[in-house]
Amino acid sequence: MVAATDNLARPRKKPSFRPRGLSAQRMIGAAIIAIVVALGILAPVLGLTDPNESSMDILVGPGAMHWAGTDELGRDVFSRVIYGARVSLLVGLGVGIFATVVGVPIGVLAGYTRGKVDLLIVQIIDLFVALPALILALLITAIVGSTAENIAIVLGFVMWPTTARLVRGQVISVREALYVEAARASGGSAFWIMWRHILPNVVRIISAQFSITVAFGIFSSASLSFLGLGVPPPTPDWGTMVREGAQYLSFMPLMSIAPGAAVTLTVMGFYLIGSKND
């Protein structure tokens, strides 16, 4: 049937002042991440005080020597926050990678094959999505013990269904597309269709979801640490620092606020880059 609508609702050419995909939101997110990652990587060469070195200057407020003051063992808070980035980023990245490496193939499998396999996978996904992620992670970590690796794996394990579900949805919608049928009509094999049509469309979604998963990973590992199930001391870890600083909140609030702000900022950075906001 003839298209009844005039093509007038939106002009075809958008006057663009910046290349597509780089909104202000994404740029801010990218900037934050760049700073955090740089600080994390360069921490050892920045000339900071050793984060684990205790001193006699206990609970000193911010000053020239210690930019963010010291904690109850005389350790430099600022330095600990910077070094804390390393653990958080590693864990966050680990979660993102695990969730993607496990979630994507499962999502593609479910979306492409449909049928009984899909049905089963969907049930598993729904189960995981229904359960509160953090509590599940808590339980498992309590059982297997908290090391950085364990936390990353557990959180990744909790997060892969979300990625799988997203990927599955995308695969299904592309699979139903007329141009895929056209590829089949040309003689394209299942592999060709997957490679040429489905995966390129999926990659777009994966990268966005990856950022968000990393954000989740950082936030959740900080939460786990706060609850006492984090990376064991003396490794500087933001969540643990917030927890330890809670006792001294009335006279040295910076002990908790500094790492807390770091978590917030980093999570926000990853979230901004990954989430869609047109």
Binding site: V2, L178, E181, A183, G187, G188, W192
Partner: protein, 329 residues
């Protein structure tokens, strides 16, 4: 060559109706039932029907884009329904499809060159990039577009231009048979005529055989040599374009002709307006499927499925009554 290029016998396609949380098959929809026809080389067969007629399913089944539930599809002497995957891929070099929707049929993230090169790559035609580029340029030329379209993406093209790309893609493998499934329905009227002229030109130049599927009888009359009229999965009438449109024998054909709104229509008399609506395809009427809307239906129509009767060597229809006699009274 006297043997037909394509011979379809007793084609059938059933869809299962599934209901329930754990899907169970509760019934069938017979999209296509007992459809038989032939297509000769260099001939155009038009398949005309409305929604629920099964015309698109017939087209898709011939190319095995939809798997037929039964029947034979003989192309160049071989039964397509029995092809292995490898034979099927080779078959797809000889038989291609032009889709209805020019907006969905092209991957919006690929360039035109990539889209047109895809069938070449998949079928192993033109192994080098330069060869492929040359062929793509030739294809664009064939459908009336310039080579600077190669780098564009489908979103930059109009409906008519996109449909030209869809046609070019179908022709990339140099097929003998092209199934055109409502190729112009989604386009503006003025562009429809352009594309029809293009298809006609290509058909003549390349010696194609075509199956032209449409709901628009006037377009089909113009384009096709022979016409098959389908309703609820069954053929009601089949014959040359002049026979079916000039001397229709089946009440449904007459109703379809009546429904064409042509401003310059010579005779406004003799119109049939059907009553009622399309029956539920999952529960079709007994006997003649058309009887519930037919102004000439009698009791006998419910009792058995009418056989195809020959009005001439080329013209057949499935109605037990003699409509000509009824209408001349």
């Amino acid at each position: 060559m006297n043997a037909p290029l394509l011979s379809v016998k007793n084609l059938e396609k059933k869809f299962d109706i599934r209901k329930g949380v754990i899907p169970r098959t509760v019934g069938h929809v017979h999209a296509v039932q007992d459809v038989s026809f032939t297509l000769n080389s260099h001939e155009v067969l038009g398949i005309v029907g409305e929604s629920g007629s099964g015309k698109t399913t017939i087209g898709r089944s011939i190319l095995r884009l939809t798997e037929p539930s039964g029947g034979e599809i003989v192309f160049n002497g071989e039964d397509v329904t029995k092809f292995t995957a490898r034979q099927l891929r080779e078959y797809r070099r000889s038989a291609q499809i032009v889709f209805q929707d020019p907006y969905g049929a092209l991957n919006p993230t690929m360039t035109i060159e990539e889209i047109l090169a895809e069938p070449l790559i998949v079928q192993g035609i033109a192994k080098s990039r330069e060869e492929r580029r040359d062929r793509v340029a030739a294809l664009l030329n064939m459908v009336g577009l310039t080579t600077d379209y190669m780098t564009r993406k489908p979103t930059a093209l109009s409906g008519g231009q996109r449909q030209r790309i869809v046609i070019a893609r179908a022709l990339a493998v140099a097929p003998k048979l092209v199934v055109a499934d409502e190729p112009v329905s989604a386009l503006d009227v003025s562009v429809q005529a352009q594309i029809i002229a293009l298809l006609r030109d290509l058909k003549d130049r390349l010696g194609l055989s075509m199956i032209f599927i449409s709901h628009n009888l006037a377009v089909v009359e113009y384009f096709a040599d022979r016409i098959a009229v389908v309703y609820l999965g069954k053929i009601m009438e089949i014959g040359t374009a002049a026979e079916v449109c000039g001397a229709p024998k089946h009440p449904y054909t007459i109703a379809l002709l009546s429904a064409v709104l042509d401003p310059y229509r010579a005779d406004k008399g003799g119109r049939i307006t059907l009553k009622g609506d399309l029956p539920d395809p999952a529960d079709p009427p007994s006997g003649c499927v058309f009887r519930t809307r037919c102004p000439y239906a009698i009791e006998e129509c419910a009792m058995r499925v009418p056989e195809m009767r020959d009005a001439s060597a080329t013209h057949a229809h499935a109605c037990i009554r003699d409509i000509d006699d009824l209408r001349s009274k």
